[in-house]
Symmetry: C2
Subunit: 361 residues, 2 copies
């Protein structure tokens, strides 16, 4: 590689016979510089192939021109769809997007501290991250704006957040099944696998974190059941770590019950796919023998013809950054919780139980 030294504002200044300050102003369209000099400077800059040093600029103006996105489990489709939304907005802004993935407790602490505290970003978007009580302190301490997507926590009321109405979504899913005539409806959900510090001697203990979206979707499920006067059956409830593999085994267990459910509502599409796999393995026809509804409406859901609850992942990402950008540019309005509505998308994995004829919608 050639050792081409990059030019600085000073080089330009010398050639143009002005001071660096003037060059800076010329480059930044300041009205304080004469139109002719500006042109001259611009020409020289072009000839020199000048490219501004962003780092210097950042130090000088005291902004990083970067926004950080903190996500767990980058691999999940719902996360990357949300991310797409974020990216779409940021492409047309002067802000860089820096990503931090967090998959375990250690990374978690580092992630929070590093990103939030080391003045590397002007604002943070925290997506689908379980928030522990002990985190709240960090978050409050930081002066940079933060907005949450898909996360509720009582301590978070100071912050902006974008959430889907999970309870309503869970309700809609279950109601749909109920309307179809199902009475035995299983629920398969996930728990967050973040561990808290050993509280009192125990090695490590699972954090009974109460505000995961899965839990809320379950609440909606329950609500629909009581409304229909159906007692909830503990055998029809199961949760484990997120993933289609886990969901598959939960489903198999549930379907092997002596009195198995005729329908299953899964807390995410990924899990619903696991349930579909279980049905295949057990040679159950979907939807004839088993109805399945998911949650998210991930891209693959369409291919799988999965009935699911759409929650506009892409849009939630967009809304989130927009809000964050607002905050960064100094909006001082009270923090706000934006609710993104859900919608049921009926495809081909749901039908009336067994022999029953499907009633036209």
């Amino acid at each position: 590689m050639s050792n081409k030294k990059t030019h600085t504002i000073l080089d330009i200044a010398q050639i143009a016979g002005v001071t660096p300050g003037t060059v800076s102003r010329a480059l930044n369209d300041s009205p304080l510089v004469n139109e002719r000099t500006r042109e001259r400077i611009l020409k020289i800059a072009k000839d020199l192939n000048y490219t501004p040093n962003m780092v210097a600029r950042r130090l000088s103006v005291g902004k990083t021109f970067a926004i950080g996105v903190i996500v767990p489990f980058f691999t999940r489709p719902s996360i990357s769809e949300r991310l797409s939304g974020v990216v779409s907005i940021l492409s047309n802004s002067p802000y860089d997007l820096v990503i931090h993935n967090i998959e375990n407790t250690k990374q978690r602490t580092i992630g929070f501290q590093d990103m939030l505290l080391k003045s590397r970003i002007d604002g943070a978007l925290i997506i689908s991250m379980p928030i522990l009580d002990e985190d709240i302190a960090y978050l409050q301490e930081t002066n940079i704006p933060i907005v949450f997507i898909d996360r509720k926590h009582p301590g978070l009321s100071d912050f902006d957040s974008i959430i889907s109405d999970d309870i309503a979504g869970g309700y809609k899913a279950t109601k749909h099944l109920l309307d179809l005539g199902h009475r035995k409806i299983g629920f398969i959900g996930d728990i967050t696998e973040i561990y808290t510090k050993p509280a009192n001697g125990t090695d490590k203990e699972l954090n009974p974190f109460q505000f995961t979206s899965s839990k809320d979707r379950y609440k909606g499920y329950l609500k629909a059941l009581v409304e229909a006067d159906i007692p909830s059956n503990p055998n029809y409830f199961s949760e484990d770590n997120h993933g289609h593999i886990e969901a598959k085994s939960m489903a198999i267990k549930m379907l092997r019950l002596s009195d198995p459910p005729t329908a299953i509502f899964a807390a995410s599409d990924t899990q619903a796919f696991g349930v579909i796999q279980a049905a295949r393995e057990m040679e159950l026809n979907v939807p004839a023998d088993l109805s399945i509804v998911g949650f998210d409406d991930v891209q693959a859901a369409e291919f799988m013809e999965l009935t699911t609850i759409r929650q506009m992942l892409y849009r939630s990402g967009q809304q989130g950054v927009k809000k964050l950008l607002e905050r960064i540019s100094g909006s001082n309005s009270r923090s706000h919780q934006i609710n993104i509505p859900t919608e049921i998308i009926i495809r081909k994995t749901t039908a009336p139980p067994n022999g029953q004829v499907k009633i036209a919608a």
Copy 2:
């Protein structure tokens, strides 16, 4: 928000009664500082809740501690799986990951110039980006290390690249179909939708870019056909922009031929899903009436039980950054092209044509 002013190295220095230089050295584990003073300084730093200003550090050191990833079409599952691999490596490095998405020509130029030239990153990973001849100049001009993933171009031999053997993959897919007994095999691929500047008066013209992976997969397809002595039928070839919708219509057109193919090889899983949708719409059974094989082995492929060519997307991302990190830390070895092997994953969308009995593998 409280107006807590963040502390600097100078504050610590004053309290500790030393100079900023010493504090800096203490913080960076320099052996030039006495153990006792270091401890004192560390303590003060902790009490003060000191957090280093990365931007200042970057300016001083002359590194950005960030690596840029330039991707087109963030939404494609194959891209985000590659990205996951990148993220997994970068999580354990001091480097930030900044993402630039490029979806059109304008963003493209800006993206290249901004990222590469404005000293915002120490190195770049360019994934699945069509490279135009005119780009090469920029790329060579930049002094920062670049590695390409999934992109070939004759002008790119100066750079490192990670590629899958698309030709071999296409060959494997087609051979599988051939072995099953198919003789009428369609190919559905994509073209890149990057437009070049109007060359001579024309409004804009599609760049006949020759090195997309789809093209190479087609080459492999062709190779298998000639080997089997089957003349290629132009009606069985179709390409359009990438996407399942486009693939679906191409497939429908192809399947409406008076003598339609009994199998279709799609250049990506997404496109294969489109073909599956077409089959559904035309009430064709897969694989009985139509065999389908995709390419990529995206996560959804498993759920869809799609026979496909696996190309280890995640791993390609990992390899890419690793190589880049090497370069950044100064490896001067000659540029290298790493080939990632492909592998056929036989699932349930392929079978012998029509009545024929499937031969056990």
